[in-house]
């Protein structure tokens, strides 16, 4: 119940802001025929608003959210992914992807040692495959003076 109500509320707020934003578009050269750039977005805002209000009035029964501990796990996974992108261009693909795969496998209940082994060997393999085999430039890492 509460899930769908919150979703409906967020949807409605989004619809209002999106709809208002759409009213400001001015075509530069007298418009594109009968419909300008704001007509279609306005239509969408109305559609979203209707479905959001419906969900607030008639919500479905809730799916259960995971317990707090699992949410913590998910936050760690998210952290690993963001951390990976943060250091990707700096330390290069091999190190960052190796670290990311190891950490992810470890959080999925692999033992640390095999996780690290699988992680780094797969990142080396992928780097070699994509750089030399398929000619895709993956970041080598600015830290080591490579692009």
């Amino acid at each position: 119940m509460i899930n769908d109500r919150v979703l409906g509320l967020v949807g409605l707020i989004l619809a209002v802001f999106y709809g208002l934003g759409a009213q400001e578009f001015q075509p530069a050269f007298g418009g594109g025929g009968a419909i300008g750039p704001s007509a279609f977005p306005t239509l969408l805002a109305v559609l979203l608003a209707i479905s959001s209000i419906y969900l607030m009035v008639k919500p479905d029964p809730d799916e259960s959210w995971p317990p707090l501990k699992t949410l913590g796990e998910l936050a760690i996974i998210l952290g690993v992914l963001i951390g990976f992108v943060l250091i990707l261009e700096w330390v290069g693909f091999i190190l960052s992807a190796g670290l990311a795969v190891s950490l992810l496998a470890w959080r999925m209940s692999a033992k640390p040692k095999p996780a690290a082994m699988v992680g780094f060997s797969s990142s080396v393999f992928m780097f070699a495959l994509f750089t030399y085999g398929l000619d895709l430039a993956l970041p080598g890492g600015t830290l080591w003076g490579m692009n």
Partner: protein
């Protein structure tokens, strides 16, 4: 005769040594992705698509490789159904019913081989159906104007929730979200910036590959962490194959019936492969109920759903190729691929890009023969890979997805967006909001707006043009039925599918 000639031209495109190689790689990777639990065909194609583009493959090679991936995933789904009792993708759910019991009786190899044969029959017949039907439908669709197309897009969204979908309003909400995402960027008609907030990265809009990979593949990672349930499943050992011609003949009628039903389910909007396998299994059980041992490892119970879902998967290509209106998540991703290659599917494609279309059709025929051979003698390879625990495979697959995204943009901004869409996808899945309409919305949004505009220009601003012709009225009525049918039939069908599945567990 015209068709045969075109098909020969298609084979000339598909059977160059280079394209044969790409078809083989695609079929192999597809089967692999299909048999990993959790990664469906849509995911597989989405992950491999950016790689395909950054390799600089030509339109025909890229298409041939990715359609082989598509065909491969449909074969792959059955492997984990039979050996682990976990469907590799949703359509393979019905294969668990008799496949797993059969494997437990020590007939795993036979179950795998027979299901491969049934898959082959299903796909092959459906491609032939596609060859006959597609040109006819394309010729008919030449009469469609912008108003008809606009209505057709509405139909696609309305039926997307599928007959098994839950709350149609959630499909509407998801569609609106997807279409909204598509309006970000510079408007192609008027040159006005919309919702870019001065951010250069948003001028060309958000690449839908980023959206697809984020919503499907990255969110799958979160779901996987949450469930943790897929571990420690004992895999059944595959013994040596003992298959006689009689065994094959025995499942032949079943496969033929399953193919026909599956193909019909595939062509109809909103039904798709899951329904195809469900219908063919249930009907076969009804027909042969007393003479067979369905649910306890009847070979025909393996053949029926496999023929059905493969036929449906190929049947679903009919509306996608001829009208440019995909009926399922996977065909939506295939459509994305065509659009990215600058090929607009629809009736005109059969004239303007005839070589590509027929090349793909020829590749489907050839790919299926390839897959049949790959899936009988080489089945051991896939079984080995499946025994690698998912806790190692999932992170690696995620990295491949990351490499793909990075290679099309060469910037980390897209990667952050991908992660963001991953989180969004997870939350939406928890809220029971379907993801496919979002993807389809971002994809079809621009075309839909153009058609709406053109219709308005034709009519001088009169909205009535959208429902003034016989064709449009028909399309609108089907759309309304499609949107409302789940409310009536949906709960019933879902309960039946679930009940059938629980019997085995």
């Amino acid at each position: 005769m015209d068709i045969l000639q075109l098909l020969m031209q298609g084979f000339a495109v598909a059977l160059t040594p280079e394209n044969i190689m790409y078809a083989m790689i695609g079929a192999f990777l597809g089967t692999l992705i299909g048999c990993l639990p959790g990664l469906g065909p849509a995911n597989g194609i989405a992950i491999l698509m950016p790689l395909c583009f950054s390799l600089g493959l030509g339109a025909d090679s890229a298409l041939i490789m990715l359609t082989s991936v598509y065909a491969g995933t449909m074969y792959g789904g059955r492997i984990s159904s039979i050996l682990l009792n976990i469907p590799g993708d949703e359509p393979a759910m019905m294969t668990c019913l008799d496949g797993y019991p059969m494997a437990r009786k020590g007939k795993a190899a036979e179950a795998l081989a027979l299901s491969a044969i049934a898959s082959f029959i299903g796909s092959f017949l459906a491609v032939i159906g596609l060859i006959i039907m597609a040109p006819l439908l394309a010729r008919f669709a030449l009469h469609f104007g912008p108003a008809e197309y606009f209505a057709l897009f509405i139909l696609a969204f309305a039926t997307l929730g599928g007959i098994t979908g839950k709350n149609p309003m959630k499909t509407v909400l998801a569609t609106a979200l997807g279409l909204m995402l598509s309006t970000i960027g510079v408007d192609m008609n008027t040159g006005v910036e919309r919702f870019t907030y001065g951010n250069l990265h948003l001028y060309e809009g958000i690449d839908f590959i980023v959206i697809i990979v984020g919503l499907f593949a990255v969110s799958e990672l979160f779901i996987f962490i949450e469930s943790h349930a897929r571990e420690g499943q004992a895999m059944i050992k595959v013994e040596k194959l003992k298959l006689t011609a009689r065994d094959i003949l025995n499942v032949l009628p079943t496969s033929l019936r399953g193919s026909l039903l599956g193909f019909i389910a595939g062509v109809l909007p909103g039904a798709g492969a899951s329904l195809g396998s469900f219908i063919s299994y249930t009907l076969e059980k009804k027909m042969l109920g007393k003479k067979g041992c369905f649910g306890e490892g009847d070979p025909r119970g393996v053949a029926a759903p496999e023929a059905g879902n493969n036929a449906a998967a190929n049947g679903a290509l009919v509306p996608m190729l001829t009208l440019g209106v995909p009926g399922s998540g996977t065909t939506a991703v295939l459509l994305a691929m065509l659009v990215t290659l600058n090929i607009q599917p629809g009736p005109m494609m059969f004239q303007q890009n005839a070589d590509v279309v027929w090349g793909v059709i020829a590749a489907l025929l050839f790919g299926n023969i390839l897959l049949l051979f790959m899936n009988i003698p080489m089945i051991g390879v896939f079984v080995k890979i499946l025994s690698v625990p998912s806790r190692y495979l999932m992170p690696m697959v995620t990295m491949v997805a990351v490499v793909g995204i990075y290679s099309i943009s060469n910037s980390t901004t897209e990667l952050y967006m991908m992660i963001g869409f991953g989180v969004l996808g997870y939350v939406l899945r928890k809220l029971d909001i379907p993801l496919v309409p979002i993807v389809l919305g971002t994809l079809l949004g621009p075309t839909m707006e153009v058609n709406l505009r053109n219709a308005m220009i034709l009519s001088g601003g009169d909205v009535g043009i959208l429902w003034n012709s016989g064709i449009t009225i028909t399309i609108w009525s089907v759309a309304v039925i499609g949107l409302l049918a789940p409310v009536v039939i949906g709960p019933l069908l879902r309960r039946k599918m679930k009940a059938a599945h629980e019997v085995v567990e």
